[in-house]
Symmetry: C2
Subunit: 442 residues, 2 copies
């Protein structure tokens, strides 16, 4: 590691900060195609990173709790800044707490190519979600610098702050985040205090806003969270886009009464109504083929007492698909079903749309670059939607976006069981590198 460190800092100074231009046209196409990241170093960095948020006495397999703004997040950010330094960059922290680093290109008139991901985790999360993309972006930078490989475009590394807790960093960069959401407390930390803790300036969040269409591309490598890549034995997914999401809140009002004495026919059982609605949600989502999914993930019963007929239920409902019209249609069908259920159970059902997140469609040209990059390395590919949101969702006004997915065993994510083979990690980083090289040729 130390040897690499010295070498890379030197390379960085030479190729990056010192601004030495690679002689134009001096690189043969077959040399570009042969360029690879250091797979061992990438693995080492991911393993090292798993220390931040690991429980005392735990191992790599125990995953991490490194939610945004926590001590673990702050320690991880420091480590990532050191890695960027070692890779030859001078990272800065913007008003939203994003870590940004820029490597100059030979053509100042060209827009930067941006790559990155996030390093915060959900509580009790895994070692790969976000970290793989972040460490790979740093590794791409370091590989370019070590090889004194000059790009025409500037290259920007972005480690977005607080992805898991609401895409706050990328949202600020995309000009999407409204200042009032900084008042919200999550995992015990108010966002405004959190942004300040990590060196941001929440009072001037707008300073983090990047100019529309100011980047040539934003590309992110991430683990694939549906299990489809692993199931089909495919190395790389080219992401068609990030799904549209409709978020609803459902309140069911019945009447709480004694569960021993109230005749069944006289009950206004809010939980029975919720049960029927949850089944209706399942039926409406699975009624026709497609990638569409939906979830009732959070549910609360009131008064939630063994011997009292539930008088009120609150639950969430979310629906996702790449096709926003389909998402809306399924929501409408569920609302229609709820009216019958309310009548049948003697309850009131209120379904309120609380958020409508549009789909973020990947740029077709960028998808082609990723496909070419994978092909050049000899990796099989397939196209998939991303059912999960990612920072790219927030960045569509800034740049055409693209995503590269690598297999995660059984599609598990947001769990200590998250696992991507080191070979797949290296494959992903190399596709990212080769994609950057192809984008640079444009």
């Amino acid at each position: 590691m130390k040897q690499f460190h010295r070498r890379s800092v030197l390379s960085g100074l030479l190729a990056g900060s010192a601004g030495l231009a690679w002689p134009c046209g001096g690189i043969a196409a077959d040399l570009d195609a042969a360029l690879r990241v250091d797979a061992g170093r990438l693995r080492q960095n991911i393993e090292d990173f798993s220390m931040f948020g690991r429980k005392p006495g735990g191992s790599f397999a125990d995953g991490v709790s490194r939610f945004a703004y926590s001590d673990a997040d702050i320690a991880g950010r420091k480590f990532a800044m050191n890695l960027l330094h070692a890779a030859g960059a001078e990272p800065r922290i913007d008003a939203a707490g994003n870590i940004l680093a820029r490597r100059e290109g030979s053509r100042p008139d060209l827009k930067p190519i941006m790559i990155g991901s996030h390093i915060d985790s959900v509580p009790d999360g895994g070692n790969f979600d976000g970290v793989l993309g972040s460490m790979s972006a740093i590794e791409v930078l370091r590989t370019l610098n070590e090889n004194r490989f000059k790009l025409r475009h500037p290259l920007e590394i972005a480690l977005w702050s607080n992805e898991e807790g609401g895409l706050i960093g990328s949202g600020a960069a995309g000009g999407v985040v409204k200042p009032e959401i900084l008042g919200v407390t999550l995992n015990g930390i108010r966002r405004i205090d959190g942004v300040r803790r990590i060196g941001g300036d929440p009072d001037h969040l707008v300073a983090a806003h990047l100019e529309p269409n100011s980047r040539a591309a934003y590309v992110e490598l991430h683990i694939e969270q549906s299990g489809r890549l692993e199931k089909t034995g495919t190395a790389i997914a080219i992401v068609d886009g990030i799904v549209a999401i409709d978020e609803y809140e459902v309140e069911i009002i019945g009447f709480a009464n004694h569960a021993g004495t109230t005749p069944m026919a006289d009950r206004h059982n809010a939980l029975l109504a919720a049960a029927k609605l949850i089944e209706a949600v399942q039926e409406e989502i699975t009624r026709e083929p497609g990638w569409q999914v939906g979830n009732v993930g959070h549910l609360e019963v009131y008064p939630n007492v063994r011997n009292i007929v539930p008088g009120r239920v609150f639950h969430t409902l979310e629906l996702r698909d790449l096709d926003a019209a389909k998402v809306k249609m399924i929501g409408d069908r569920i609302i229609a079903r709820s009216k019958t259920i309310a009548t049948d159970t003697g309850t009131e059902i209120h379904i309120k749309l609380v958020e409508r997140e549009p789909a973020a469609i990947s740029s077709p040209a960028l998808q082609q670059k990723i496909a070419d990059a994978a092909k050049s390395i000899g990796l099989a590919t397939m196209h998939l939607p991303s059912g999960a949101t990612h920072d790219g969702t927030m960045l569509t006004s800034i740049a055409p976006i693209g995503m590269i997915f690598v297999p995660s065993v059984a599609g598990i994510s947001h769990s200590p069981k998250e696992l991507t083979s080191w070979t797949d990690c290296a494959n992903g980083a190399n596709v990212l590198l080769q994609t950057v090289l192809r984008l640079d040729r444009d």
Copy 2:
């Protein structure tokens, strides 16, 4: 009130504590039948009692939070003890914190007739549940003493401690409560500390155990909680018995995963399984006619996050009917249904019987006495099961039990909306009084 007070204490001293016997055979049957409680005083006592546990600035309509062992409970107990004193009795507190008062009879060889109820409430409860029976029992005592009405049997008033939080006082009296349950904390108070707070001796709970078959009868007046009395316009219900209850705990184990990325077909959704099971519970209970009821009242979802497929659900299930065999059969049918649901949803469903409470059947002879008492007052009656448990459940080894119900508007209970008309309150107290007189003749 003050006038009554002086008179009643005097009467009590004369008829009760001073042990003056009413001349045997000196009471004509038509005089017995004419004896009535003071309806105005009963109402006043119920209204006065609503102060204990009322929220600051609230009114009678706001109900009470007077859960066992709370400051409100302790204040209410003191008030009840004063009422007993005023009624001419010398109350004592047993090891379980029950308030007991005894009025001697003319025949020391006869077993006491016991009447009573409880004065604790559920959090955010009403003014009548327990209080009506308690105030009426005290009113019966006071009426007898004011009228220097000598009974052959001793008369015992029992105000059972902590009915709502687990029938603790009556359970100790019936020898049913095991000392280990005193370690449980409910509403922020550990039972063992609570029993001590109200003047009991939790270390010697066994001292509260009454001898088997030591009482001639236990009769309790209570509000009717199903709404059937009010709906049919019937003044009095003669209770056939208190239902058998089977309590189950249900654990459904699925797999928590990302709700955006996990294909619908690959989910192991514990909440979807719970929804199907809740519907199955409803179907199995309502499949055939009868009084049987059941409830899923408490339900918890894990991790209970909007965008995570529920990985685990815990919920309660209780089933009730006067016929214990029917209760068991419905439980068995639900367990059979759960196996199909588990297979269909890719989950494991574990249903564990955690408590089997037998039915407490009212004594037929006592039911007849209640019917005769109501008839003597000219009140219409009907027979009903009690779907709720009451202290009588715990006392079947001590005495034949019987219960008198009066209408509660819409059957509402365990709610500030609990409401019984003052006429119905007085009717109930008079039926209780007349039942005592009839029991005394045996």
